[in-house]
C-alpha cells in the first residue's frame, strides 16, 4: 500500500518537476525572444522614421544611394518601405545602403523611404570589429599642433576614458580659454565631430562619424544627430559629442556609421533629405509575431495561441484562468476542507463575479438567492416532481434576472444589470440545493453551505480577478501544465484537512 502511494506520488512529482522546468524554459524563451512581459498591458514603442529625399535631375541617369539602419544595431527593423515610382530598387546588404536607379528624368524628384523600428535594447553601442588602420595624423601647422597638444594635455585631467576626456573638455562650461582659442567661432555638429576626430588621430585612436536620430516625436522635420565612434579595446564604441557619454543613448537609432555619406545622388543636384519621426504604441504581445519572424521562428509562433484571431485569443485567455480556479477549489475542498454546494459551483460564481465586478455581483447574487429561495419555499407546498420543479426554479431565476435588469435600467442603477452574468442553471441548482438542505438539515446547515460556497467563490475570485495573474497565465500558458500536476499531486494528499484539525480536536488526549 505504502509503496504504491510512494510510486504514484513519485511519478507525479517527477512530472511536476519536469513541467516546472518546461514552463521555466518557455517563460525564458518568450521573454527573451518574443518580448513578452510579466506585467499586463506592456507596450512597446514603434518608431516610424521617414526620409524624404528630393532633388532636381540633371538629365543624366539617376542613381540614389541612401544609407539605412542595420537591424542588428540595437533597433530592430519591422518594416521597410520605399516609395520611389519608376525606380529600380536594390539593396546592398553589406554596406546597408539602399540603391535606387532610374533613367534620366526631368521634373523634381521625391523619394520616400520609411522604416518601422522597435527597440530591443540588446547589444547597444558596441560593435566588435577588426582593428582599422591607424589614422594618419592630421596635417596641422605648428601653432595649431601646439594648441592641440595643449588640449590633449588638459583633457587628461577630465573624467572618463581618453575619448570622453576630450569631448568633455571641448564641451566644458565655461569654456577653457585654450578651447576657446582652438574652436572656430561657429561650430556645427559636423565641425565638432571633425575636431574630435583630429584630436583622436593625434592620439592614434581611429574614429569615424555616425549619424542617427534621437527618437522623440516632433512635427518638424529633423536632421540627423551626429555622434562619434572611436575604436578602443578591440571594438567600436560610440560617444555622444556633447556629453562624452559612452554608448548609444536610449531611444537613439543609428542610421549610418563610418565615413559613408548619408545620401549620394548621381544625376541630380540640390538634393535635400528631410527626416521625420513618429511614435506609435502597440502591446508587446502584438509585436511578438514580428520578433519571431525576425528570428526565423515563425513556425513556433504560428502554432501558438498568440497567432490566433483576437476574438479567439480572448476566449482562450478567459479559459486559461480556469485551471488556477480549479486549483483553488481543490485546495479549498481537500486541504482546507470546506464543503460547498457542488464541486465547481463556487468557481462558476467567481467567474460571474469577474464579469459583474465584486460588489454589484454580490448584491445581485444576494437578491437572486433571497427571491429564489422565497419562491422555492412557496413552491415546496405544491409537491411538484423533481424535473418540473427545478425547471420552474430556472424560469423564476430568469424572470428575476429580467426584472432586475429592467428595474436597474429604469432607475439608472447599473449594478442591477449585472444580474444577467450569473449562470442561470447554476443559480437554480444552488437555490434547489439550499432549500432541500434547509428543509432536511435545518437553516443552520443550509446557511453554512451557502456561506462556505461563497467563501470559496470569493477566494477564487480574488485569485483570478487579478489582471496580473490572468496575464501571466495567458502569456505563459505552459504554467497550466504545472497547475495540472499540482492538482494531480494534491489527489494523493492524505494529510488532515484544516477543518478536521478543529473537528477532531476533542479526540486529542490531554
Amino acid at each position: 500500500m505504502l509503496k504504491k502511494i510512494a510510486s504514484v506520488r513519485g511519478i507525479l512529482s517527477i512530472f511536476l518537476f519536469l513541467s516546472i522546468i518546461y514552463a521555466g524554459y518557455c517563460i525564458y524563451y518568450k521573454v527573451e525572444y518574443w518580448g513578452f512581459h510579466f506585467t499586463p498591458k506592456q507596450t512597446a514603442n514603434i518608431w516610424s522614421i521617414e526620409a524624404h529625399i528630393s532633388f532636381e535631375p540633371t538629365g543624366e541617369p539617376i542613381k540614389v544611394s541612401l544609407t539605412t539602419p542595420r537591424s542588428n544595431d540595437s533597433f530592430k527593423v519591422l518594416e521597410e518601405n520605399t516609395i520611389a515610382e519608376g525606380y529600380k530598387i536594390s539593396k546592398n546588404k553589406t554596406a546597408s545602403r539602399l540603391i535606387m536607379t532610374s533613367p534620366a528624368r526631368e521634373e523634381l524628384q521625391d523619394i520616400y523611404y520609411k522604416i518601422l523600428l522597435f527597440d530591443n535594447t540588446d547589444s547597444r553601442g558596441k560593435t566588435k570589429s577588426a582593428a582599422p588602420a591607424t589614422p594618419e595624423a592630421p596635417i596641422f601647422d605648428e601653432q595649431k599642433l601646439a594648441a592641440a597638444k595643449q588640449l590633449l594635455k588638459l583633457a587628461q585631467a577630465r573624467e572618463g576614458d581618453p575619448v570622453s576626456q576630450i569631448i568633455r573638455l571641448l564641451n566644458e562650461e565655461p569654456m577653457h580659454p585654450a578651447v576657446q582659442a582652438y574652436l572656430p567661432v561657429k561650430t556645427t555638429q559636423k565641425i565638432m565631430v571633425e575636431i574630435i576626430s583630429d584630436l583622436l588621430a593625434l592620439k592614434k585612436i581611429p574614429s569615424q562619424i555616425a549619424r542617427g536620430f534621437k527618437l522623440q516625436e516632433s512635427k518638424k522635420s529633423l536632421s540627423p544627430d551626429l555622434m562619434i565612434e572611436a575604436y578602443t579595446n578591440g571594438s567600436w564604441r560610440i560617444y555622444d559629442i556633447k556629453t562624452g557619454k559612452k554608448g548609444i543613448p536610449d531611444n537613439f537609432v543609428l542610421f549610418q556609421r563610418g565615413g559613408q555619406s548619408l545620401i549620394d545622388v548621381e544625376g541630380g543636384e540640390n538634393s535635400v533629405i528631410k527626416f521625420s519621426v513618429l511614435k506609435s504604441i502597440t502591446s508587446s504581445m502584438k509585436l511578438a509575431g514580428q520578433r519571431a519572424k525576425l528570428l526565423n521562428q515563425e513556425d513556433r509562433f504560428q502554432y501558438s495561441i498568440y497567432n490566433l484571431p483576437l476574438a479567439q485569443q480572448n476566449t482562450l485567455k478567459w479559459l486559461s484562468i480556469f485551471p488556477l480556479a480549479i486549483l483553488m477549489i481543490v485546495l479549498m475542498r481537500n486541504v482546507i476542507g470546506l464543503q460547498t454546494m457542488g464541486t465547481f459551483t463556487p468557481m462558476l460564481l467567481a467567474m460571474s463575479l469577474i464579469k459583474t465586478g465584486f460588489w454589484p455581483g454580490m448584491l445581485c447574487f444576494a437578491i437572486i438567492m433571497t427571491l429564489g429561495l422565497l419562491i422555492r419555499f412557496v413552491m415546496s407546498k405544491f409537491n411538484l416532481l423533481l424535473v418540473p420543479r427545478i425547471s420552474a426554479v430556472v424560469i423564476f431565476v430568469i424572470l428575476i434576472m429580467q426584472s432586475l435588469t429592467i428595474i436597474g435600467y429604469q432607475l439608472d442603477f447599473h449594478i442591477a444589470q449585472s444580474a444577467v452574468f450569473f449562470p442561470i442553471i447554476i443559480m437554480s441548482w444552488i437555490i434547489e440545493r439550499a432549500s432541500i438542505t434547509w428543509e432536511e438539515d435545518g437553516a443552520l446547515n443550509a446557511c453554512r453551505e451557502i456561506i462556505f460556497s461563497l467563501v470559496v467563490a470569493i477566494a477564487t475570485y480574488f485569485v483570478i480577478s487579478s489582471e496580473y495573474i490572468r496575464h501571466i497565465m495567458f502569456a505563459f500558458n505552459e504554467l497550466n501544465l504545472v497547475v495540472l500536476f499540482m492538482v494531480m499531486l494534491l489527489g494523493t494528499y492524505t494529510g488532515y484537512r484544516l477543518m478536521e484539525l478543529k473537528r477532531f480536536r476533542p479526540l486529542v488526549k490531554k
Partner: protein, 321 residues
C-alpha cells in the same frame, strides 16, 4: 489573541491520537479496498436485501417493489392484507423519502403514519410517484420504491431517544468489526438518527456493546438532553449478532471498508437496514478515539482466512482481555 487557535489540534497531535482524516480514508482505504464496481450492491436496497437473504443476514421482509410510474397504482394490490409497512426509495440516503405506515385500513384506504398523520390514498400515490421520479435519490436518478415490513423496534432504547428510532452503526474493516456506535434521535434532530442533524452518537465498546462515550453536535455529553437518561448505561443486547451482521456483510459485498446500519426488532432481533460503502468519520468523535490505530492493528495482527463467525469471536475475545 490566539485563543481561537486552541480550538485547532496540530496534525501531529491528531496523528498521535490515531485520527483518520477524510483524505486518508478516501485515498488509502476506500480507493484501495472498495472497488467501484461493488458500489451498486449497497447503493440499491433491493439488491442488498436479496444478497443479505442469500447469505443469512436478516433484513425487514420485502413486501413488493414498484419500478415504473404506471405500476404505482399496483400499490393497493401489494399492500393487500398488510396492516403496517414502510415505503422507501431503493437508492435513498439519509432517511429521505421513508414513509412509515403504522396503520392501514383497507376499507376506504386510510393510512396512518408513525407520527400519527392521516394520509389519503392519493397522497401515498403521490409519494410513490415522487420516489420513482428520483426526488429522494442522489442526482435525481429514476428510482424504485420498496415496500417492506415494518420493524417493531425494541424498547431498550426508548429512554435514550426522542421519538424516532435509534440504530447501531458498525464499521467493518477487512471483515473485522472495528468500531461501533449507536445513533439516538433527539428533539433537535427532528426524530432523525443523523448526527449532522443533531442526533446523539454514543460510541460502543466493540467487545461488549457497552456505551463508551457520547457526543451531540461534536460536543461530549453523558445525559440525553430530552429524556435525561444516563447515556453511559447503554448496553446493546444481542451484541454478537450485531457484529455478525457486520462481518457477514463483508462476505456478502466484498467491500473492505463498510458501515452496516442495524436496528433491533423486538421479536426478530438485530436486522440490517442498509450498508454504506463510504461510512463517515464522525464515529471517531462518538467513540472518543481515532480509527486509524484500530485499522492498523487489524492490518498487522489479525489473522486472515477466518470465517465470519470466527472473526467475530476473535474480536470479542481480543478486546475482552
Amino acid at each position: 489573541m490566539f485563543a481561537w487557535l486552541k480550538s485547532f489540534a496540530s496534525p501531529k497531535e491528531l496523528s498521535k491520537a490515531g485520527v483518520l482524516g477524510m483524505n486518508r480514508r478516501n485515498f488509502d482505504i476506500i480507493s484501495q479496498y472498495n472497488p467501484r464496481c461493488l458500489y451498486p450492491l449497497v447503493d440499491d436496497k433491493v439488491k442488498t436485501k436479496e444478497l443479505a437473504n442469500k447469505i443469512g443476514i436478516s433484513t425487514p421482509r420485502l413486501i413488493g417493489i414498484i419500478e415504473y410510474q404506471y405500476e404505482a397504482k399496483n400499490i393497493l394490490d401489494i399492500i393487500h392484507g398488510q396492516k403496517e409497512f414502510v415505503i422507501k426509495p431503493a437508492q435513498g440516503s439519509g432517511g429521505k423519502g421513508v414513509l412509515v405506515i403504522k396503520d392501514y385500513q383497507e376499507e376506504g384506504h386510510f393510512f396512518t403514519t408513525a407520527s400519527g398523520r392521516q394520509l389519503a390514498y392519493n397522497e401515498v400515490y403521490q409519494h410513490i410517484s415522487n420516489i420513482l421520479s428520483g426526488l429522494y435519490s442522489l442526482g435525481g436518478k429514476y428510482d424504485t420504491a420498496i415496500v417492506e415490513e415494518l420493524v417493531h423496534f425494541s424498547d431498550i432504547f426508548k429512554d435514550y431517544s426522542y421519538q424516532g428510532v435509534p440504530d447501531v452503526r458498525v464499521i467493518v474493516y477487512k471483515g473485522y468489526p472495528a468500531m461501533a456506535m449507536t445513533r439516538l434521535p433527539t428533539k433537535a434532530s427532528g426524530g432523525r438518527a443523523n448526527l449532522h442533524q443533531g442526533a446523539i452518537g454514543v460510541g460502543l465498546d466493540i467487545s461488549n456493546g457497552k456505551a463508551l462515550h457520547g457526543v451531540c453536535r461534536d460536543i461530549p455529553i453523558t445525559i440525553q438532553p430530552d429524556t435525561g437518561a444516563d447515556l453511559m448505561k447503554i448496553e446493546v443486547p444481542y451484541w454478537r449478532e450485531h457484529l455478525l451482521i457486520g462481518a457477514l456483510a463483508y462476505e456478502m459485498t466484498g467491500l473492505g471498508y463498510l458501515g452496516a446500519d442495524i436496528v433491533l426488532d423486538a421479536r426478530r432481533g438485530p436486522m440490517m437496514l442498509e450498508l454504506n460503502a463510504r461510512p463517515g468519520l464522525a464515529i471517531q468523535i462518538a467513540n472518543g478515539i481515532g480509527l486509524k490505530n484500530c485499522l492498523k492493528e487489524i492490518d498487522k495482527s489479525y489473522p486472515s482466512g477466518l470465517s465470519a463467525e470466527e472473526r467475530v469471536d476473535f474480536v470479542l475475545n481480543k478486546r475482552a482481555k
